[in-house]
């Protein structure tokens, strides 16, 4: 009956039956069993027990392993996996915390509110009182479209996440009160920014104005721009994304333009450093280099001129021959010292300016010498080069955020001026400064001159991919600074595809800005 099973079980069962019997009958027939039988039972029972006990201990070990694997996996998950996981957008905890924190405000250097959040019907609304004026500085913070520029980069500060204040806020959190984020003070001057925005009218391009001694950005405008208020953003999003004019492109920091004649200040720097200061050039209006003809703007011939005059009249023929004379190494060297090809650290993303040559032919050298060819610069970078000349050759690290304060005024972070590059030595900077003053006094940059203030500058009219096919599409550039002997402001202005010269279109804008800043 049971012999199909194994021996162990038979014994096991037999014992159990006996035990059961004993349990049932025990009360009636006190120990009536045979003693021999009992001894035999005992031995068999021990054999069974040992085996079962062993197996039970294996089972206990298995259970141990199961529990240990839970602890091990949980620890592994916490240490190595969770960081990748919890930032998933389906983890609503992040948004929940944002909703509970009143996002900090963004203000200008004087405390003018540029962006602030308010609760309305339990929901937070981000308000930008000046609309498009700061769209390419502050960016936007939208529930639907995310965040950009300062709103994105300083999100943690605005939400007050990065302080280890969880413990101290415990009482507020227990009471369910909204936390307040930190306020960000920009180095921007609202009056100057508003003026710059106004001066750009409906033109495309960018303006950057900064303090050459500290690197603080005073105004920064990119056009076209957009209204970053949530409702407007939603209305215009689709058309803006599809628009050919790329209103989301922050031209001041991300736009890459041929610098044209404004680049000549760097060519000149290298020329001065290589002992070409007293060279005299014969400008006949055009020059042929390796079979390629290069001519001055409007084909004008200036005759025998020195470097100072060459810069003032922006002679292409002279700077093309200087480029060839300097050679590849020197041109590369000055570009590198000016940070071209390097990533410029800034509070919002900056495009990398490039000097895109592998091996330079003579025509390349000539083109590079006058700022044409494969050199592309951001307006911010041109403003920095201008400020480096103004600041005795030292380029300061640009900055947009001057300080961060908690909602009750405690300063968390404060901007400290830092040197970024030494572009040229003190003497060279002084000489170029003087030559740039000549540009404004007697040269192409006359439109930037202000009565009673020494202004230094350089114009540029840059050929580009459109102008090579179609006349009247050149970029108009102006870079400069003032007052020349103790500069307080450096600017770069570019008007995209304006078709007019830097001197006639860009210089007047720079003049307005400089004069407004210096006259308060």
């Amino acid at each position: 009956m049971i012999n199909d099973m194994d021996g162990y079980k038979n014994i096991d069962n037999a014992i159990n039956r006996d035990t059961d019997r004993g349990r049932d009958a025990g009360k009636v027939t006190n120990n009536s069993e045979d003693t021999n039988n009992e001894v035999k039972d005992k031995q068999e029972k021990e054999a069974m027990s040992n085996r079962t006990v062993n197996r039970m201990i294996y089972a206990l070990v298995a259970v141990c392993i199961l529990f240990f694997s839970l602890v091990a996996y949980l620890t592994y998950f916490e240490l190595f996996k969770k960081n990748k996981i919890i930032n998933n957008s389906y983890n609503r905890r992040q948004f929940e915390m944002e909703e509970k924190t009143l996002r900090g405000s963004i203000l200008d250097r004087n405390g003018t509110v540029l962006a602030e959040s308010e609760f309305s019907d339990e929901k937070q609304v981000r308000k930008y009182p000046y609309g498009a004026v700061y769209s390419h500085v502050i960016g936007y913070s939208s529930r639907k479209y995310g965040r950009s520029l300062i709103e994105s980069r300083y999100n943690d500060y605005l939400l007050g996440i990065n302080e280890s204040s969880a413990v101290f806020n415990l009482r507020d959190r227990l009471a369910g009160e909204a936390k307040e984020g930190n306020n960000i003070y920009l180095s921007i001057d609202h009056k100057l920014q508003a003026l710059a925005h106004e001066l750009m009218k409906n033109m495309q391009g960018a303006i950057v104005a900064l303090n050459p001694k500290t690197g603080e950005v005073l105004a920064m405008v990119s056009k076209p721009d957009f209204d970053p208020n949530e409702q407007k953003l939603e209305e215009n999003w689709k058309s803006m994304v599809e628009s050919e004019t790329a209103p989301f492109l922050s031209r001041a920091t991300q736009g890459l333009y041929t610098p044209g004649s404004t680049f000549k200040v760097l060519t000149l720097t290298s020329a001065l450093e290589n002992g070409m200061e007293n060279n005299i050039y014969n400008d006949s209006g055009s020059i042929v280099i390796d079979g390629k003809e290069i001519s001055n703007y409007g084909g004008k011939a200036y005759g025998e001129i020195d470097l100072k005059t060459a810069l003032a009249v922006s002679s292409n023929t002279v700077f093309a021959s200087i480029g060839v004379e300097l050679g590849e190494e020197n041109l590369r060297n000055i570009s590198e010292r000016a940070g071209i090809g390097e990533k410029i650290p800034f509070d919002i993303p900056v495009g990398k300016s490039v000097f895109q040559y592998n091996e330079m032919s003579k025509t390349d050298l000539a083109a590079a010498g006058m700022g044409q060819g494969k050199i592309l610069m951001t307006p911010l970078h041109m403003a920095l080069i201008s400020s480096a000349i103004a600041n005795d050759g030292i380029m300061m690290k640009p900055s947009l955020v001057s300080r961060i304060e908690t909602h009750n005024g405690k300063v968390l972070k404060k901007h400290k001026p830092e040197e970024l590059y030494r572009v040229m030595d003190h003497d060279t900077a002084a000489k170029i400064n003087e030559m740039m003053q000549e540009v404004v006094n007697n040269g192409t940059g006359k439109n930037a001159s202000i009565k009673g203030i020494k202004v230094a500058g350089k114009t540029g009219t840059a050929e580009n991919e459109l102008s090579s096919r179609q006349k009247g599409k050149e970029h108009a550039w102006f870079i400069g600074f003032a007052p020349a002997d103790d500069p307080e402001i450096a600017v770069a202005v570019i008007l995209e595809y304006s078709g007019s010269t830097g001197g006639s279109a860009a210089a007047p804008i720079a003049r307005e800005l400089i004069s407004a800043w210096l006259k308060g």
Binding site: M1, G7, V71
Partner: protein, 418 residues
């Protein structure tokens, strides 16, 4: 006379946890909403009173192992505090279930000790179980894919929780004396089916009927739990390794088959492998659970400061995720260790007790708790595929809690014998 001071320390810890937990819950309530906070204090004292009273009785009546209940009351306290934070109405109900559970604990303790019939009615266990299964299928309501409870008045009862206890008794009575099943096979004999292979195979078939019913009700977690206990028993008490291997192969074939033919099993498996590809739908539960566990860190956000309410079913199957979020990974590990020492004591009782039936029942109860814990904890942390099942003594649910206390009462009774 026992020296009571020897046992005083652990119970203090349980009381302390309750004091801290309920005090925090009292403070957490926002002052401006209309919830009566005094109820929180009352609830806290009820829990402490129930635990202390039960523990005093266990000592007074010398009911055997005094640590079993302490471990369980610690688990239960963590569970009720967490539930209270998630949903105070559910927690208040759970406290009532706790009282019912403790009554059942004493009732089962005495019933098991005084009545000596448990190993005699072997054939009754599967029969009663199958009747309960059929009742569930006929009268049952379903939620979230499972079809596993019936309504008695206003209370939903999950009969499978009772069947768990019956299943252990069924296994125990078979391994104590397989001959008892001969009687059951007579009917089969008259149909002229060979009796030679019947006993073991009938036993195995009866087991698969249990598991089959659970599959039908889509209680996958419980089905795996029963199968796990079954395999452990085959290993410990069955002597032929071939039987074990045979059943393991059957299980594998069954799993592969059901992967291809049952959509809900394929979903469980796919969301285990990669829940992120369908995060908004099928992978939602498990990923929300992982977010909760990950957000707490080692020390947790603190009670009431996390957002475990984002996790679906957080008060039942996913309560461990809530514990990890607000009490931290360390809190979660503490819970795992509590279950582990409970399992350890269960094994110890099983090894010490003399009667085979008692031994097997104790082992069965212990394995049931241990494997159930592993299945659900492994599921919510994505170590193994997720199958819905409650976390013993912690998840919300009257049936689960009462069934837990019935098992605990029996284990307590056996520890008294040991």
């Amino acid at each position: 006379m026992k020296n009571y001071t020897r046992f005083v320390k652990p119970v203090y810890m349980v009381v302390l946890i309750n004091l801290i937990g309920f005090l925090l819950l009292y403070m957490y309530s926002k002052p401006n909403n209309n919830i009566n906070n005094n109820i929180t204090i009352f609830a806290g004292f009820s829990v402490i009173a129930l635990i202390c009273l039960t523990y005093a009785l266990i000592l007074k009546l010398e009911m055997g192992d005094e640590y079993l209940f302490l471990i369980v009351s610690m688990l239960m306290s963590i569970g009720i505090i967490m539930l209270y934070r998630l949903d105070r109405n559910l927690a208040q109900k759970q406290i009532i279930w706790l009282a019912v559970g403790i009554i059942m604990f004493f009732a089962c303790y005495f019933a098991y000790l005084k009545l000596n019939i448990w190993y005699k009615v072997a054939y009754l266990y599967p029969i009663v179980s199958y009747i309960l299964f059929i009742i569930t299928i006929v009268f049952g309501g379903g939620k979230r894919g499972a079809n596993n409870w019936i309504a008695i008045g206003h209370i939903n009862v999950q009969l499978s929780e009772i069947i768990k206890v019956l299943y252990i008794f069924f296994l125990a009575s078979y391994y104590t004396d397989p001959d008892k099943f001969r009687d059951c096979t007579i009917a089969v004999k008259r149909l002229k089916i060979k009796i030679n292979i019947s006993k073991q195979w009938i036993f195995i078939a009866l087991n698969y009927i249990f598991i089959g019913f659970l599959f039908l009700q889509r209680e996958l977690g419980t089905a795996f739990l029963f199968f796990g206990v079954f395999i452990f028993f085959l290993f410990i008490f069955g002597s032929k390794i071939s039987t074990l291997v045979f059943n393991a192969i059957i299980a594998c074939i069954g799993l592969v088959f059901s992967y291809f033919y049952f959509y809900h099993i394929r979903v469980r498996f796919d969301t285990w492998i990669n829940p992120w590809s369908d995060i908004s739908n099928k992978g939602y539960q498990i990923t929300q659970s992982l977010f909760a566990i990950g957000s707490g860190g080692f020390f947790g956000t603190g009670l009431g400061l996390g957002r475990p309410d984002f996790v679906p079913e957080v008060h039942t199957d996913f309560i461990f995720s809530a514990i990890c979020e607000e009490m931290g990974i360390f809190g979660g590990i503490a819970v795992i260790f509590l279950f582990f020492i409970f399992a350890y004591r269960g094994f110890k009782i099983s090894l010490m007790v003399k009667e085979t039936f008692d031994r097997i029942v104790a082992l069965g109860i212990t394995l049931m708790f241990a494997l159930q814990t592993f299945i659900i904890l492994g599921g919510v942390i994505k170590l193994i595929p997720l199958t819905g099942i409650t976390l013993p003594f912690i998840s919300y649910g009257g049936s689960s809690l009462v069934s837990g206390f019935i098992s605990l009462g029996i284990l307590q009774a056996i520890s008294k014998k040991a």
